[in-house]
Symmetry: C2
Subunit: 341 residues, 2 copies
């Protein structure tokens, strides 16, 4: 019953790329190809010289024939505004029976003709930025199954990547683990989830409870984090997510090169140690047994030597595995999880 | 510019009571008469035997003549549903030039005819449960002026009452202090504010920043709190409000007779000491100099002896003024504030 209120997408996807020429603008689509290639039938490009994600170029008819159930807008435009010039193509896709999935600010229903086309074809227009309207208030009830939540010293420090990499590593080692999405790109990759930053404030922890429902005792939900308790812009989202997730374990995500809070330039980032401490203090309210199992660090701006020294020093200070998940993989975290009861 | 995005009401008010027979159902109206009698011209009752708030009984014409600018729904119905039988009267009030103000769940625009009447008369329909749609993301910038925030061991432990009583006590002693509303009843009393529990999660601290804007250096905002960091249902709201308020001082509100969290029966309330500690740990992120200046306790269910012993013991343990604001007033808190720089 709980899961009725998450957003549900219908893969496989045709990824719409328009004519974008740089990979950053196509990062949503690139993330889908990286993390859920089995859910992607192909890409739709309006320019031969645009970004190529390395999957088949398909037109709408070919995509439908290949089994596509949804067209996913795989590009991020500045400000999220969607080009009106895409209207004819999106209408065509809807009329061909594809759900249209978007994470842009523009409401799909505002694209000329699209609401009518969707109605006529019986397909859905899904904006993954918009939270479901029917969320419950959090009740704090203890749920079965185990949970890891990614927390962070700031926004945009690799929480989604780390959660995806950890769940993949656990699956590869035969453990039952599911990535749980709390943001729009994660939601497209998982095929379901709730963008917790867009729910009404009273329902943040309720949304988190819905995202990771009761499960088998040996099952792990690996929950994408949002924001940071130390980010004055978004800390409310982070605490509601922390309390509603009831994590058995947290992983702190951090960017080794960041000194100041991304959205508040007056604020220094906390130390990883401070971040662990406050997150555990708060998390114990809904799970007294919570522990920190490690730190995922983005070390991309450090030299190889500086990187090794940084991670080793941090690991010795905290007595925890400290890794760069992109370079090291997450096996050290899996090992740590296996030591938990 | 900031204040543009708070909800603004137009006093004085005619309080609509319908035919409610018990004071609990009329507590919104009773609160207005208690805390802002100068903003109330009278009451509108549909039954002579209903609740009497001790202000003049006026019909719509008399209220307009007495200067009323708004009709405020002063009753809370179970579930917040508004009786359709009030539609003719509300239409009449709108057509007579009164804004209609409601804190009920029902959208005023869904009352038959009311949207048209309001448009025709050029008056506003204001639902104080609905947050403005144009809030900024919190930026954490330090604001001028001083701030006290009420925090709590739970919801509904007297945060609004304590904030109102403290601001009144400060005003009576010649200090510049303004009650700042973060909930619907408080908003009606203050005439402006934002219901922070109904903003989109990403904007909680932004709303809090708008609620208590820059002010004179010797001016105190006394900010109504919401929820509790220890309430698993609403803690996100509380942390966003704490960070956005940047309080110089916090007051912890508590109910001496409550053992379990109101919305989560599995959870024991924290001790007042734990509540102070976690709130200060979190508040220091946006105001390193924050202190706790005292505790407001609802002791209504204790005997006189038990009450005195309770407050004295708590005060000795915490080395802070611990009072029941209803019985003791807030002068002890004002004294403490005067010792701050």
């Amino acid at each position: 019953m709980n899961q009725v209120t998450t957003i549900k997408l219908s893969p496989p996807y045709l990824i719409f790329l328009g004519d974008v020429a740089d990979l950053m603008s196509a990062k949503t689509g690139a993330g889908l190809v990286q993390w859920c290639p089995d859910m992607v039938v192909g890409q739709y490009r309006t320019s031969d010289t645009g970004v190529d994600l390395g999957v088949p170029d398909l037109n709408i008819e070919q995509a439908v024939e290949a089994g596509a159930k949804s067209l996913v807008i795989g590009v991020a435009l500045v400000g999220g505004a969607m080009s009106q010039q895409w209207a004819p193509l999106l209408n065509k896709a809807a009329l061909a029976g594809l759900d249209i999935v978007s994470g842009l600010h523009t409401d799909l229903a505002d694209i000329p003709g699209l609401a009518d086309s969707a109605k006529q074809a019986g397909v859905k227009l899904i904006n993954v930025r918009r939270a479901p309207a029917t969320l419950p208030i959090g009740n704090g009830r203890k749920r079965s199954g185990k949970r890891v939540l990614m927390v962070g010293t700031d926004c945009a420090v690799g929480k989604k990547y780390s959660a995806l990499a950890l769940s993949k590593a656990m699956n590869e080692r035969g453990m039952a683990a599911t990535f749980r999405a709390t943001g729009q790109t994660g939601l497209m990759i998982a095929g379901s989830g709730i963008p917790v930053d867009s729910v009404i404030a009273d329902f943040i922890s309720g949304a988190a409870e819905v995202i990771s429902p009761d499960n088998r005792d040996d099952h792990w939900d690996i929950i994408e984090g949002q924001g940071s308790l130390f980010n004055p812009s978004y800390s409310g989202v982070s605490l509601g997510l922390l309390h509603g997730s009831q994590p058995d374990a947290i992983v702190v995500c951090h960017d080794a090169s960041r000194e100041f809070v991304s959205s508040c330039a007056d604020y220094r980032l906390p130390s990883v140690k401070q971040c662990i401490q406050l997150n555990l203090d708060c998390a114990r309210i809904t799970n007294p047994d919570v522990v920190c199992i490690g730190v995922c660090v983005n070390t991309s701006k450090l030299t190889v030597e500086a990187r090794q020294a940084y991670l080793q020093q941090l690991s010795e200070e905290l007595e925890l595995p400290c890794i760069d998940p992109i370079l090291d993989g997450c096996n050290a975290l899996v090992d740590k999880i296996l030591t938990l009861n």
